[in-house]
């Protein structure tokens, strides 16, 4: 699959780098003790530090530092034992201090990497440039009053990790895959909940185009895109816009743009917003952040198994296909569910039932795996019934549907509804005989060479037996009798 864009004058390559802003999972803000929960009444989670009252001072939240280090280690990145907090100065109503505390020249995390599994089975390495800690701003509410803007400072001071990728991405699809993979790693680590609709993961996209192999083109930055789909749409639009400009003989202006999800297009921000000189300088209220190497090692040892390692284990130890393993590990909750089901059972069967049957059914009823009406243990019992041939795979699907609806256990359901598979040769043989008797003409047709009628006989016998005939036995007996 070519990633190149076909223009009027030839092919173009898109070059993309992403800056993700990931809200840190923490009960308290980055520099104050105020709470951080989403959706609280406006200005109820604000301390005098967050509101930048005179004389208020920031104190770093050690938990947020640990979360950043964990994330850095999860991205196989260099952890900088000394990092520095800087002030990024600009005026805005929802930025109470008139500066954002961020890390500019000396971030807490340096270069790392993230691996993408591409559709063709290839692995792509995407470089991570850096991860730094910074404060979130508050929210300006423009729709509460005809003439005034209200400010909600609940989010002001909440800790963010800005995770910057190298310009290694080459298509909107890759950018989407990168963001999904990043989100997956963050969720595995428990350092960001990754809920893009709540704004706890947002993305700035740097996009440029060039002739394949040429120097980098002029880039634009699309700010604050808040879903994977929008990121892909924004990049797609922006790349085509730039190609059109260049093919018309124009040049791309380096600028900051906004994505309008209603029109699926990007627009330049007001030029004034492009003109900020942030006057970065080290925050004199905070000492350089110094980490102990032994502590970093202890954090490293405490890291959970991450998606790539889990996938490798699912393939090598459980015999899953790389594709099935990928699907399962993308969401930690799915992988965990699967592992519980697969323990002591046929892993491939479990993988199929979890990632196809269960997830498909849950999607239909709008539930997540965490709120699944069928527990892993219950699904496991259903699989046991398939494995020991108590029921067929087809019956299992019916049982599963009832379980989903009623929450009943598989064993009880099979007993109660008499769904136990019939493995009695005589019972199946007499059912076949009855079908043959009723359709003697068809038997004759088959025997004179009309092979296609085989399925008809299977269906009739199954129907006669309420679907409970063991499919293997049925096939065996039917073939014998037909060829006789």
């Amino acid at each position: 699959m070519s990633k190149l864009i076909q223009g009027q004058t030839g092919e173009w390559e898109v070059v993309i780098g992403l800056e993700a802003h990931a809200q840190i999972v923490s009960d308290a803000k980055l520099f104050s003790g105020a709470a951080t929960s989403f959706g609280a009444e406006p200005n109820t989670q604000v301390s005098t530090v967050d509101a930048a009252f005179p004389g208020m001072l920031p104190v770093i939240n050690r938990h947020c530092v640990e979360q950043a280090v964990k994330t850095g280690l999860g991205l196989k990145a260099r952890i900088n034992l000394v990092s520095v907090f800087d002030r990024k100065n600009y005026f805005y109503a929802d930025l109470p201090a008139g500066y954002q505390i961020s890390q500019y020249k000396s971030p807490i995390v340096g270069k790392g990497e993230l691996m993408l599994s591409m559709a063709d089975g290839e692995m792509r390495r995407i470089g991570i440039t850096r991860l730094h800690l910074e404060q979130d701003a508050g929210k300006s509410l423009h729709d509460r009053h005809p003439a005034l803007t209200y400010v909600d400072l609940n989010r002001a001071g909440v800790g963010l990790m800005e995770i910057v990728s190298e310009p290694d991405l080459r298509s909107a699809e890759e950018a989407g895959a990168y963001l999904r993979k990043l989100r997956s790693i963050l969720r595995y680590l428990g350092t960001c909940d990754g809920n893009m609709e709540e704004g706890s993961l947002r993305c700035d996209c740097n996009v440029s185009v060039r002739r394949p192999g040429a120097e980098l083109g002029t880039r634009t930055e699309i700010k604050n895109v808040n879903s994977v789909r929008f990121v892909m749409q924004a990049i797609d639009y922006e790349a085509r816009r730039q190609v059109a400009i260049l093919e018309d003989g124009g040049s791309v202006i380096q600028e900051t743009r906004l994505f309008d999800p209603h029109r699926s297009e990007t627009r330049p921000m007001r030029t004034k917003e492009n003109d900020y000189d942030y006057r970065y300088f080290p925050d004199p209220d905070l000492l350089p952040l110094e980490l102990d190497a032994a502590w970093v090692e202890s954090v490293r040892r405490s890291l959970p198994e991450l998606p790539d390692a889990k996938k490798a284990r699912f393939v090598s130890e459980l015999g899953l296909t790389p594709y099935d393993a990928d699907v399962l590990v993308a969401e930690k909750s799915h992988a965990d569910y699967f592992e519980t089901v697969a323990k002591g059972r046929n892993a491939r069967l479990a993988a199929h039932w979890v990632s196809v049957e269960l997830v498909g059914a849950l999607n239909e009823i709008g539930a997540g795996i965490d709120t699944s009406p069928i527990s892993p243990a219950a699904l496991g019992q259903l699989l046991d019934l398939i494995e020991d041939r108590t029921i067929s795979g087809r019956i299992a699907k019916d049982v599963f549907a009832v379980m989903l609806e009623t929450g009943q256990g598989a064993v009880a359901l099979v007993e109660e509804r008499g769904l136990r598979q019939v493995t009695d040769n005589d019972a199946i043989a007499s059912a076949i005989d009855a079908v043959f008797a009723a359709h003697a003409d068809k038997v004759a047709e088959y025997r004179s060479g009309k092979d296609k009628l085989y399925g008809f006989f299977v269906g009739q016998v199954m129907k006669a037996m309420g679907g409970k005939a063991n499919p293997g036995l049925l096939n065996e007996l039917l073939k014998n009798k037909l060829t006789r």
Binding site: G55, L57, R87, F91, A93, P96, R279
Partner: protein, 501 residues
Amino acid sequence: MSDLARLTMFEARSGLRAKKFSARELAQAHLAAMAAARSLNAFITETPDRALAQADASDARLARGDGGMLEGLPLAIKDLFCTKDVLTTACSHILDGFRPPYESTVTAKLWQAGAVMLGKTNLDEFAMGSSNATSCRGPVENPWRRRGDNRPLVPGGSSGGSAAAVAARMALGAIGTDTGGSIRQPASFCGVVGVKPTYGRCSRWGVVAFASSLDQAGPMTRSVSDAALLLAAMAGHDPKDSTSAPLAVPDFNAAMTGDIHGLKIGVPTEYRVDGMPMAIEALWRDGIAWLKEAGATPVEISLPMTKYALPTYYIIAPAEASSNLARYDGVRFGLRVPGDSLDAMYEKTRAAGFGAEVKRRVLIGTYVLSAGYYDAYYVRAQKIRTLIARDFAQAFEQCDAILTPTTPSPAFAIGERQDDPVTMYLNDVFTVPANLAGLPAISLPAGLTEDGLPLGLQIIGRAFDEQTMFRVAGVLESAAAFVAEPGQPGGVERTMAARGT
């Protein structure tokens, strides 16, 4: 003036414990002195009700035999410290009407130690100034006058109101803040003791910020031992200030043994500036002689980067200030002047709220942090700051404390030196280096000019070695035997005689 207002803090403490007078009587004596000297404009907010309530509480504790280290002692608080529910303005219109919902760590410690708040004192707007002339509440008058000249003089700044209050016996002691000399220079101008502790010794939490890497709170008193006592109550690690040092507070008074035998006192050659009055030169020589007599050894030291200290300070301090003062935007507290847009509201609010000197420093600070200038100014200034600190570190390999004049001139008349900011900035030439290096320094009154104005000597100590600084200061204080008081020429003569000039 009541005799109760003439006591030192130690004397008052003994009197209270011996039940010679009550905390209420002590507070009333000071409130009366404040009323009598209101024309000095030292206090901008008086809190008599609170003072009496606190004094009564002190009396109750003293009656039970309880009481903290400052029990019942009336103090003046620079209006840069946030005091809960009490108007706190930094003497800027931009904080008009601001009553903090919190108490600064330093003042909270004072109240916990039993101190009584008399009121909030005048200062240069946001502590930016060396004469108290930039206050939006008008200038403070120095209680001292030149002999035979009744023109009002500046008290120095920025802690001018605190210095004047202590000098004029309106408070037993006061607290100030010192970013480039804002405690020591007014202490010198007003004939009182002022201490800038080591950076990190006192919490900055709840102190309106001017330049965060330089600001330190400190005591202003009428004796060195009072300063040691007051500092002990103010100091201590505060987890709410990341730059506060996690160190125990030593017993500073116990360090004042009176014995400086064997100590080496550094005398920096670079602290002689052109046009410095003879009296200051002479006083400095006296100081060296007194310490030598007491058994210390004076050593010539060199602090070659001294000449860069002032320009360095006037890059770093405004840079930090320009950012620290961005929060005064009319959105959440203090003054708001409405405008048609957010930017218009900012511009109108800040134009109306800030005075000329504050605007000047915000502009300088914004400039030196701007793209294209940052490396040439801010980064270079930080490098020089490091070199200045190294100068001191090397000097302290040869000596235990450094003796210098506090200021290159005595107090000047109100209105003088207002035209040229650079001349005004030169007031801080001897005090700024200790801020840049984060070192503790004390100014104590040691002599008088020919026309009877007080002059201070400064002792700079090693970082977190206030003990040695106090020890030397105590000896210097005894030797100088400064007993002059403002408006009391008799005292002047005695001091001149004592100095043997």
